[in-house]
Subunit: 420 residues, 2 copies
């Protein structure tokens, strides 16, 4: 018998303590976003292979778990020998299925539509510490709103949610970084880069935190761009001081590259969000924020926790993506929360959330207990359960000390031993 | 561009109202089983193909969604041309992954271990009304307890959970049917069937509700069994009257076929469960209860709702299954709840659970609203949200009546229109 005990490579079995923590975080996320009017939806984990390989997913398309055709269709594909053995695949993110979902169900949904998705996605990546092949993503998106109100709601909702979750481990300080793809583009064009090179230039600028301006200069020159253009481009970022305003940063950019509406929109967001943030949370214009995904078209944003060198949430506006699928442009902006990261941080700081609630009680029944005594125990257990207490009734193990030890590890604190 | 808007065949997009109802039911299940000491666990949706095709899954193994090998491994399989293109598959139930999970994680878990699993399973079945290719299963299992306490806890926990859920639609009457595979076997052997024919005879008896004793007689004779054996066998079931006791039913069965311990165990379960059931719920010995799965070894049980002709939950003891995988027998008993059925019944009776909570408020902002006014609205919204109210802030649509109609359908009842 060829039986494999371990889970599939790169995927995890969740122990009860893992699940308690994950469920705790999920329920806080649901509640918090729910109060902001985001509505939970779900798409199947299995998606059409045509949709998954339609070039919207960038590198993720190389990592698809493909699902095989079945029956006669599979036989046809084998006979044909064209390698087209898959008709489906596992979704690699929640954004692509959302685009399909919205195209399919738009008529039944309020407009604008505020979606909350929490679910597993699959990437056949090389597994490494903290990176899995099945992991939970948590996204909010507002579809059909082309105004700054979409970003204001996305950012205030996420800041409020993170504030609530991290208050439990006394982390209160977050920074919301915000920028706009159109400003990033205007700076590059203004410096003399060609329109078609902007994407490549932004990939270099995106490494600012890792390699600094000197590293970016080196890379841009290596990529064959003229020294003069690179100098002009980087001089703009060299002049950046902490707390620089949008207007100050943009003052050298020609209106032809950057309409006033873009700056106004970005400062609208900042001015509207700032007053409703909790103590310790701030929103700053960050002219070096790029964010990797190619599909962003407007404001982009990221949240960092002071003292941690990674972002805990990130998103932006992607007005052109849904239209590529449905044939009809739909304004869209979204925020993706690093669920697995949040869980990892909480796991390090917060023992209680992975334990059973206070007062959880285990009745251990010896094998000589009479039916009458057992009936009494079950009746008491029923009353306690109705009052909301966690109660388990178990046969007493031969090695009771070991049994109790493992129950204590889960959070049971009261033990009633019934011998007869 | 080849883009497909509809979900994959046989799988569903969940609308917000679907999700609210499903989340409501899931949270009641979690809470109720949690109070009985069942601990939530999770296994990956993707499972080793070797495990899925190890003959434990019966007909479900014909319905596997297979996941293709990737990269060099796939190329090797294609070059070899042996058709072994899949290394993984999507789980078709939660019991097989549980067996693997327990074999892998046993040392870290309390013993006996009370597991709660809620998750999606996948079967490439022909889709039909109410049957999907991705659907949610909800199972509880007790591993490592060979005593009747396991069944007592499984049954009381499930009865209590169903009572709570269905109280909301004023359904209070359930019947718990219970029988034992060893009694079913003893009756057949005693009538003169050969040991190796018992499985086939039980498959016929399982159709009692559909075809009655006359139909069973016809089928058994068609299957080539002797008239005399069939007569003797069915005479036992002909004598059954409502409310028959275990002892009365078993009185003609030789102790060689049926040790007294089996009867005692079953009546223990009934006597222990009955007193802790809610008003309207009863537990009855049902000698014609068979349950399809081949792997059951002891007590089997099912719950029906009076007035519905299908079971809402079913389960039994399967002491030999985990050992087949892990090489070490582990006593096991489980109960599987018809989650999709419960949701369907509630959907017909219960509008409220699929709506937003009372008092949910939508602010609709016209496009002339000043930054100052918007700030006031956001600040008010923040206060209401902190008090627990669902508040959404949206741009006013051109067709506001249509917009409000769709928001009302979700459950928004208060609308604040801000024009400037």
């Amino acid at each position: 018998m060829k039986f494999i005990k371990t889970p599939v490579k790169g995927m995890c079995d969740m122990l009860p303590s893992d699940m308690r923590l994950r469920e705790h975080v999920l329920s806080m996320i649901k509640k918090s976003y729910g109060q902001y009017g985001f509505m939970q939806i779900e798409t199947p984990i299995v998606e059409h292979i045509e949709n998954l390989t339609s070039k919207q997913g960038g590198d993720n398309e190389k990592l698809i778990f493909k699902v095989m055709k079945r029956g006669a269709e599979l036989q046809r594909a084998i006979d044909k020998g064209d390698g087209e053995y898959a008709d489906n695949g596992l979704r690699y993110d929640l954004t692509l299925p959302l685009a399909r979902y919205y195209a399919c169900n738009k008529e039944k949904l309020p407009s604008p539509f505020k979606a909350l998705q929490m679910g597993n996605v699959y990437r056949a990546d090389n597994p490494q510490k903290g990176r899995f092949r099945q992991f939970t993503q948590c996204d909010i998106d507002i579809l059909g709103d082309d105004s700054s109100l979409a970003e204001i709601e996305l950012i205030t909702a996420t800041a409020s949610m993170l504030t609530q979750i991290f208050a439990e481990i006394n982390i209160t300080d977050f920074t919301i970084h915000i920028n706009d793809r159109r400003i990033l583009g205007a700076v590059a064009l203004c410096a003399g880069f060609a329109e078609e090179d902007v994407g490549s230039v932004l990939i270099s600028l995106d490494k600012f935190d890792k390699i600094g301006l000197a590293g970016i200069e080196k890379e841009l020159l290596e990529n064959g761009y003229a020294q003069e253009t690179v100098d002009k481009y980087l001089s703009v970022y060299r002049a950046v001081k902490e707390g620089i305003t949008i207007d100050a940063f943009c003052q050298g950019i020609d209106e032809a590259y950057l309409p006033a509406g873009v700056k106004q929109n970005l400062s609208d967001i900042i001015e509207s969000v700032a007053p409703v943030l909790a103590q310790g949370v701030k929103i700053v214009f960050d002219p070096t924020l790029v964010r990797g995904m190619g599909y962003y078209t407007g404001p982009i944003f990221e949240i960092t926790m002071d003292g941690y060198n990674f972002s805990i949430a990130g998103g932006g506006r992607y007005d052109k993506m849904i239209g590529k699928f449905s044939g009809q442009d739909v304004a869209a902006s979204g925020f993706s929360i690093g669920f697995e990261r949040i869980v990892t941080i909480l796991k390090d700081h917060m023992q209680d959330a992975s334990k059973l609630p206070e007062g959880s009680t285990a009745y251990l029944l010896g094998n000589k207990v009479s039916l009458e005594r057992k009936a009494e125990v079950l009746s008491t257990a029923r009353r306690l359960r109705e009052d909301g207490t966690v109660v388990t009734v178990l046969p007493m193990a031969k090695n009771m000390k070991h049994q109790i030890g493992l129950l204590e590890a889960e959070g049971y604190t009261k033990f009633e031993k019934i011998y007869e």
